[in-house]
């Protein structure tokens, strides 16, 4: 009887496998294309970031294909779910290799990205991560980054607060179970000593206890913090702002790029975010042509305002496109050949993306300055 069960299960799986093949075969076409692979979480509780990157990439790829592709060769995207897990990301990456991926844009989250970076290096596969912000993501020469690196975000935030003399007593609320958040906090705290303000409270939370921030806020308030630094994502930040308001605590809130998107939280009372400052490369209400165009296209297709992750995905695709053109690549080249050409070409690329003027050096980090914005009347305003 047990054998019957296993047989049945095996049959189910074969059926599913066939079904799976059927759906991915639909995208293949006769002409030569660039096969772009990507992974990110599209299920699990980090799904919003992966889905945003995926959507941003799809918009860019549609635009590029409509405009005729790179020297006539179109892009084909295959986005795999990695559930924000290192092992699953490697599985996703291997799936993409089996599919014939030539360029890898990923992964979305740092932990998974570092794990996959070892594989891309081994395979000599060009890798550009839209939003993996840990510097270890780009340690290898074949890996590049679109977003800010964590240390530079923490450092720049601290410099900014110090230079503008925004506060003398600063509290930090960060996610100690997230590498992104604790990475920024570490560099922020290191730089704080040089900037003449004190960190009076450094309060953590974890992914298992992120529904209540009243204690962390109470401690910040008891220590008399005039500014609360939030190196976290906007979904938790929106709750922190709501709870701070409930308890009548009103310091300056200072965020990083993960905070972008807070105004787009469904049903969020944006007046709570009034005067929140953040350093971000992307602001959805910017009036420059590229951003307006991207935001409109995104709204039309997905019915919501894009967040920074979507913008990172969008820019990553354009960076690859420019580098492919500059490097004189052909879609018939192997992944390894493309990698060599792209690594050489990308340092000469300069694009005006929706996350700013982007260029790369051999370290893999993208060079640009973050914009400091402040939220006024429910909109981002550039803060001088």
């Amino acid at each position: 009887m047990k054998k019957l069960v296993s047989l049945l299960m095996a049959l189910t799986m074969v059926a599913v496998m066939v079904a799976g093949c059927g759906s991915s075969a639909g995208t293949a076409s006769g002409e030569a294309t660039y096969k772009i692979g990507a992974t990110g979480p599209i299920s699990g509780d980090a799904a919003l970031y992966g889905i945003a990157v995926k959507n941003g990439m799809e918009i860019a790829i549609n635009e590029i294909n409509e405009a005729g592709g790179v020297n006539g060769a179109k892009f084909e995207l295959n986005f795999q779910d990695d559930e924000c897990d290192a092992e699953k990301a490697v599985n996703g990456y291997n799936t993409l290799k089996d599919w014939g991926m030539q360029v890898f844009i990923g992964t979305v989250t740092s932990g998974a990205c570092i794990a996959v970076a070892a594989n891309t290096y081994e395979d000599n596969m060009f890798q550009i991560t839209p939003s993996g912000s840990d510097p270890k993501c780009i340690e290898n020469p074949n890996a590049f980054q679109v977003c800010f690196a964590d240390p530079s975000q923490g450092k720049k935030s601290a410099e900014y607060i110090g230079n503008k003399d925004l506060a003398k007593k600063v509290a930090v609320i960060y996610d100690s179970s997230s590498s992104y958040s604790s990475g920024i906090y570490a560099s922020f705290a290191a730089e704080a000593a040089n900037q003449g303000f004190d960190i009076v409270a450094a309060e953590a939370f974890t992914s298992d206890s992120k529904s209540d921030f009243s204690v962390q806020l109470q401690k910040a308030s008891d220590e008399g913090a005039e500014l609360v630094f939030l190196p976290i994502y906007y979904s938790e930040a929106s709750l922190i702002l709501t709870q701070a308001n409930q308890m009548g605590y009103d310091p300056i809130f200072f965020g990083v790029d993960g905070m972008d998107g807070i105004l787009g939280v469904t049903n969020f009372d944006t007046s709570l975010a009034e005067d929140v400052m953040l350093l971000t490369p992307f602001a959805a209400d910017s009036t420059d042509e590229a951003t307006v165009h991207f935001v409109n296209a995104y709204k039309e297709k997905y019915g919501e305002v894009p967040m920074q992750f979507a913008a990172d995905g969008y820019d990553a695709v354009y960076a690859v496109k420019e580098a492919l053109e500059k490097g004189g690549c052909e879609p018939t080249m192997s992944a390894s050949e493309l990698c060599d050409k792209l690594v050489a070409a990308i340092t000469q690329v300069k694009i005006t993306g929706v996350t700013g003027e982007l260029s790369w050096d051999a370290s893999g980090e993208s060079n640009r300055d973050p914009k400091a914005v402040i939220i006024k009347n429910g909109a981002y305003v550039l803060f001088e």
């Binding site: 299920s43 699990g44 509780d45 799904a47 919003l48 889905i51 100690s176 309060e203 953590a204 939370f205 974890t206 298992d208 206890s209 992120k210 529904s211 209540d212 009243s214 204690v215 962390q216 109470q218 401690k219 008891d222 906007y234 979904s235 938790e236 929106s238 709750l239 709501t242 709870q243 409930q246 308890m247 009548g248 787009g264 939280v265 469904t266 049903n267 969020f268 009372d269 919501e304």
Partner: protein, 295 residues
């Protein structure tokens, strides 16, 4: 002063755990199963309220009622499709695993239907907070007051229901011995279905209160509070209705004090460590019955 303020925060958080734990413990007491999907029914309840009262603009009371209906129907469906066929299975673990499957299923359906983005929930409670002290250091929010009152009402109501009504007696009989209960003319299946209906209705109420007190909602909102409430239920003695209430409130207080006075990074470890100590001293939880084993 800050001690009292933390205490109030602890009670607020604990009251939410308590009301979730009541649903958990109710189902456990009668059906003897850990319903891992309970937290996700809470999430569905919260989404129903959100859609009714915020998106469609109907009155919050109507929203809560709809949510209770939706969750009850959902609970009954889950019970009928996924749990009932496994009654009498060789191992009680089978239904535990199915419950986990249901939990994944609900999360992923919610992910597809509502999307992954967080929603800021509008509190359905419109009671002004009570403030003590000259400059409002001690504030008890309206949500906390309502949650505690609701918790007490539910606790008393359930206790009365289980002890005084005919259906309640049937439930207790089923929980003691299914075979004997059916010989006494009790419809075991209907009684267990009723238990799930009540448990799910409580999940709807818990969902509303959870999201009113901590106004954020996404497809995974219910998962962690669900686990914590499960811990709370065990803490108080699983199966015991007053135990769930006490366990929930204590858990909230321990979590807040752990964060406030020991280490905010280690808050989870502290909560679990206290749980372990309590269970080692009193192996069936604070109010759990110690059943003597007979040869």
């Amino acid at each position: 002063m800050s001690f009292l303020s933390y205490l109030i925060k602890g009670i607020s958080l604990g009251s939410v755990y308590a009301i979730i734990a009541l649903g958990y413990t109710m189902v456990y007491g009668i059906a003897k199963m850990l319903n891992f999907a309970h937290g996700d029914v809470i999430m569905v309840g919260a989404y129903s309220v959100f859609i009714m009262s915020t998106s469609l603009g109907l009155s919050p009371i109507f929203g809560v009622l709809t949510s209770i209906v939706v969750c009850t129907a959902l609970g009954l469906t889950i019970e009928r499709v996924a749990y009932k066929p496994l009654r009498g299975a060789a191992s009680p673990l089978a239904v535990l695993i199915t419950a986990i499957g249901v939990s994944y299923l609900l999360q992923n359906i919610a992910l597809l239907v509502f999307g992954a983005n967080t929603i800021s929930f509008t509190s359905v409670i419109n009671i002004s907070p009570i403030t003590f002290g000259s400059n409002g250091e001690l504030t008890i929010s309206g949500e906390t007051i309502v949650t505690i009152i609701a918790g007490i009402i539910v606790m008393v109501g359930l206790t009365l229901f289980v002890n005084k009504t005919k259906m309640g007696h049937a439930m207790r009989a089923v929980s003691e011995d299914k075979g004997a209960a059916s010989l006494m003319g009790i419809n075991v299946n209907a009684t267990i279905a009723l238990t799930f209906a009540i448990g799910s209705a409580l999940a709807a109420i818990a969902g509303v209160l959870l999201c009113s007190a901590y106004p954020t909602l996404n497809p995974y909102t219910g998962a962690m509070p669900g686990i914590k409430a499960f811990v709370a239920a065990v803490f108080g003695g699983i199966g015991s209705i007053p135990g769930a209430m006490i366990g929930g409130v204590l858990l909230g207080i321990i979590e807040v004090f752990g964060k406030a006075y020991i280490s905010s990074q280690m808050a989870d470890a502290i909560v679990f460590a206290v749980l372990i100590i309590v269970l080692l001293v009193k192996p069936t939880g604070i109010l759990g019955k110690n059943i003597q084993e007979k040869v």
